[in-house]
């Protein structure tokens, strides 16, 4: 373990968080809200600790191995959430620190699960910070660090890989720094585009910004109790389409930018993604047609809910709790599938689903013709044994963890549907589940143990299991002995 590097990186993250907190402080200043004090205190604390770390911890050895990368990412996210929760707690808008922590983790992991029963009573700056955490967590704080700060080590790919979602993480251009920059520029450009489009509708500037942050990070924190339900059809369509866009692999946007549209159209993951979305919309639309006043309304609500759940955003325009079970079942399946790899969405990722189906098909073929030499191809490339095994492993681990957490959460007094969907919604970074934790409900009544379990579930889901898990292995913390 390269402790010094881990600590100094955490210090850097804290200083960056202090800088990011300036934005909600400005909002508080504009609206002349008293929450400004809590933001200033938090900036003081994070900056103070960050500077102390910078002064005390001099890194002489910047070599980072895969293990250190995992630890750096996990610790960064934990610190980010722990300190990011302070404004909620200090301002007293969320009186319990556990609740504030849950809310912040939910924000940074772009889950959108809330312990608040009424969002509308929150002050504007707190609402803004809540949504801003989505935007930061969407593309990832480490990617932001890579894009801004010079990295001396060539091994920074280990850190980036621990944060980027998907089974195979590649680079767009040779340098990590430039790759991170390109990703963030695409991210910013798309967000700005959405903000502009939303201001053309019935939202004011701050509302458009807040909702764009929620959409871009595929988070789902809104500022209304009924999420997006009370906005115009235009705004709902814009958000629905942008949710789908943010669920697509960002590498594809880069390919479009450099003019390789052909490669984009050939992307298997994109085909599967669009196929699943279209199929779900059609199926649910037929199923819920009778509940709405016309085809266009039914189509709008279905499209919105499907894209919201599929991309693990968690906005809602209607209470899908009241939908028939078939529609709810489809939504539950979509919760697990999630968006594309390399997007801001959570879940298992479409590429993993496509791959696992191919691997299963290949194995079944092997049963029929035991001597056949089968190959699994994805995006035109042969899949090696390591990747294949990695995906099967990931899937097994995913379900083991899912049921373990489900057991813990079931200690609470809620019904089966609530508990199951609560874990699924947190683990896949969606937000709302069904029944009590549905789009109009909240996670407020869960016990402290469950809240911690669900917070862990959100982090596990966002960082894709391994980084958080290796924190519990004693070997991770073994100090290198003869360090020169």
């Amino acid at each position: 373990m390269n402790y010094k590097m881990v600590v100094s990186m955490t210090g850097l993250i804290l200083r960056l968080e202090a800088a990011l907190l300036v934005l909600p402080t400005v909002i508080a200043l504009i609206y002349r809200e008293s929450t400004i004090v809590s933001f200033l205190i938090t900036i003081g604390i994070t900056l103070g600790i960050g500077i102390v770390i910078k002064l005390l911890c001099k890194t002489d050895n910047s070599i980072v191995y895969a293990k250190d990368g995992f630890v750096i990412v996990t610790l960064s996210w934990l610190c980010l959430s722990a300190f990011g929760a302070l404004p909620f707690f200090i301002s007293g808008e969320i009186p319990s620190y556990v609740d504030a922590f849950f809310e912040t983790v939910s924000g940074f992991t772009t889950t959108g699960a809330s312990i608040l029963k009424d969002v509308e009573v929150l002050s504007k700056s707190i609402q803004f910070w809540r949504s801003f955490t989505h935007w930061i967590g969407g593309m990832g704080i480490i990617v932001l660090v890579m894009a801004i700060f010079p990295t001396s080590s060539g091994r920074s790919m280990h850190i980036m890989r621990a944060e980027m979602p998907g089974p195979i993480v590649g680079k767009l251009v040779p340098r990590v720094k430039n790759t991170a920059k390109i990703l963030y520029l695409i991210y910013i450009a798309l967000t700005l585009m959405q903000i502009v489009l939303l201001t053309l509708g019935d939202m004011n500037l701050v509302e458009s910004i807040v909702h764009s942050f929620g959409t871009a990070g595929t988070g789902g924190f809104g500022i209304m109790s009924d999420s997006i339900g009370s906005y115009s059809a235009y705004s709902q369509w814009v958000i629905a389409i942008f949710m789908l866009i943010f669920g697509i692999n960002f590498n594809l946007f880069y390919l479009i930018l450099i003019g390789r549209v052909k490669n984009v159209l050939k992307s298997e993951e994109l085909h599967a993604y669009i196929g699943i979305v279209v199929f779900s919309i059609a199926a649910i639309c037929m199923n819920v047609y009778h509940m709405y006043s016309g085809f266009s309304e039914a189509l709008r609500h279905t499209t919105f809910q499907v894209s919201s759940i599929m991309t693990t955003t968690g906005f809602a325009t209607t209470d899908f709790n009241t939908w028939p079970s078939f529609s709810k079942a489809i939504l539950l399946v979509l919760m697990f599938i999630g968006g594309c790899a390399g997007s801001t969405a959570g879940g298992l990722k479409v590429s993993r689903i496509v791959l696992i189906i191919k691997i299963i098909a290949n194995n079944i073929r092997k049963v029929l013709n035991p001597r056949a030499v089968g190959s699994v191809r994805f995006e035109g490339k042969m899949l090696d044994e390591t990747t294949r095994r990695g995906i099967s492993n990931y899937l097994s681990l995913y379900f083991v963890l899912f049921f373990l957490m489900f057991l813990v959460v079931s200690l609470d007094r809620f019904d089966f549907e609530t508990n199951f969907s609560a874990v699924a919604a947190c683990f896949n970074n969606i937000g709302p589940g069904f029944s009590v934790v549905g789009p109009t409900g909240s996670f407020a009544d869960y016990s402290v143990l469950s809240k911690f379990t669900l917070s862990a579930a959100m982090l596990l889901g966002r960082l894709e299991l391994y980084p958080l898990l290796i924190m519990f292995l004693p070997t991770t913390w073994r100090r290198a002995k003869n360090v020169v």
């Binding site: 990295t151 091994r155 790919m157 040779p174 430039n178 090696d384």
Partner: protein, 460 residues
């Protein structure tokens, strides 16, 4: 600058390591996914898995935008083919590794022209050349020459009985009549650019720059016996051995090559009519003694195994062979060999790095290539660069002492009208000069980089 490296074996990996260290955007192409995986993990590069002569793969690597394309795979033919394709697909400059002696004669120029190669690199030939230089001046650990041998730089190890031990740099200059300059001192793991008050110790490795004739004079004054190695024993009949033996026999030295494989021995016989080829296991000490190890002036171990080279070199040293050189390719083993007392190591991949860095820097330099030669000393921590001073350079006509020269830079020599000169503070640069600069931990792209702030004319 965008650079593509095809084929990442020992040489390729080393080139990638250097180029990323220099700050270039590197894309690596290799057939083996494991190699690509480990390279992208260690260095900040993008990996593409596939063959180097595959159109699709080259396109994916972005060959049309590449400014430099280096093919360093194991096969010469593949390298030539992929360089040819890269050139046709839009790569600005191509470098191929061509190491088979069969291609490295008159046909090389023909191929280079017709394939559009900017350069053909042959690591084994370069390394053999380095060894050859050292054998001519066995007192040195390393010897490089600038400006067609008018100026040379040598690396020496200070022995216990040397007159330099305990001397201050400023005093040493007065004590000897030969004109030379001590550019760098390597002690422990640190390399210093010494000032006048620096005191030398026994065991230091020093780099000295001087004119060709002055070096001989200096060594004589220092009491270092300068005797060319006449009888050389080479272990292992590798490509490097062939190149080296050819050079040595052509100047009339006696060469004895010991090779294990009979078929290789026969090939050696054919290629090197003047050398004595012995068929036998070089790892057998008995055989070496029988073949007259005691009478040899130098022992060069060039087998494919680093470990064998190190062990047999130690054996030769214990038998009082005056000069022992061994080929050590692995970065891990080199310091171990050094700690065992082997100060003179040769490695094809190290020799190639200077050439590639020089080429890449010259390309990067927008003003145009004014780097003439570039060598690295002291395990790469010190660079010696020869610049050509152009007429439009801002540094022309200002006394050196008035230039705001950066820390860690030393002007070791000026060549004016083919006359070498060790500069003093009052000297000025004039166009047409060749200047030799020593730089520590810095990447100089052009001559103007040696000064910190741009100089204003009116200040002078």
């Amino acid at each position: 600058m965008k650079i593509i490296v095809v084929g990442c074996g020992k040489i390729g990996t080393h080139i990638v390591a250097m180029l990323t260290h220099e700050g270039h955007d590197v894309v690596v192409v290799d057939r083996d996914p494991v190699v690509i995986d480990s390279l992208t993990n260690i260095y900040d590069v993008m990996g593409v898995c596939g063959g180097g002569a595959d159109c699709e793969i080259l396109k994916e690597a972005g060959v049309d935008k590449a400014e430099l394309f280096i093919a360093a795979a194991g096969s010469d033919e593949l390298n030539m083919l992929s360089c040819f394709m890269a050139k046709k697909m839009g790569a600005a400059h191509t470098i191929a590794r061509i190491r088979n002696p069969q291609y490295n004669d008159k046909s090389l120029n023909f191929m280079r022209e017709n394939l559009g190669l900017a350069m053909a690199i042959n690591p084994e030939l370069l390394a053999a050349h380095e060894i050859f230089n050292i054998l001519k001046l066995p007192a040195a650990v390393k010897l490089e020459s600038f400006s067609r041998r008018h100026f040379e730089m040598i690396e020496l190890k200070i022995k216990d009985n040397s007159p330099l031990v305990g001397g201050r740099i400023a005093d040493i200059r007065n004590r000897f009549s030969a004109e030379f300059i001590i550019c760098a001192v390597h002690r422990g793991c640190v390399t210093h650019i010494p000032d006048g008050n620096f005191v030398l110790q026994s065991g230091d490795k020093i780099a000295i720059a001087a004119a060709h004739l002055q070096i001989q004079k200096m060594l004589k004054e220092m009491g270092i016996i300068h005797k060319e190695a006449k009888n050389v024993m080479i272990l292992g009949g590798s490509r490097m051995a062939i190149y080296l033996a050819k050079m040595l026999t052509s100047v009339g030295n006696n060469v004895k090559i010991i090779e294990k494989k009979e078929s290789v021995c026969e090939e050696l016989c054919e290629a090197l009519p003047k050398a004595v080829i012995v068929h036998g296991d070089g790892a057998s000490q008995e055989l070496l003694l029988e073949e007259g190890l005691h009478q040899m002036d130098a022992f060069v171990s060039l087998t494919g195994m680093d470990e064998e080279n190190i062990l047999m070199s130690i054996f030769a040293m214990s038998n009082k062979v005056p000069k022992v050189i061994s080929k050590v390719n692995s970065d891990e083993l080199a310091p171990i060999a050094g700690s065992l007392g082997l100060d003179c190591l040769a490695s094809p991949k190290k020799s190639i790095s200077d050439v590639v860095i020089r080429y890449a820097r010259a390309l990067k330099n927008s003003i145009g290539s004014n780097i003439e030669t570039l060598y690295t000393f002291m395990d790469g921590s010190i660079e010696a660069i020869e610049f050509n001073v152009k007429a439009d350079s801002k540094l022309v006509g200002i006394p050196i002492c008035k230039l705001n020269i950066k820390k860690g830079i030393l002007i070791a020599g000026i060549l004016r009208n083919r006359k070498p000169k060790i500069p003093t503070g009052n000297d000025v640069f004039i166009p047409g000069d060749r200047v030799i600069i020593i730089a520590a931990d810095m990447h100089l792209n052009g001559f103007q980089d040696i000064v910190g702030q741009p100089i204003k004319r009116d200040e002078v």
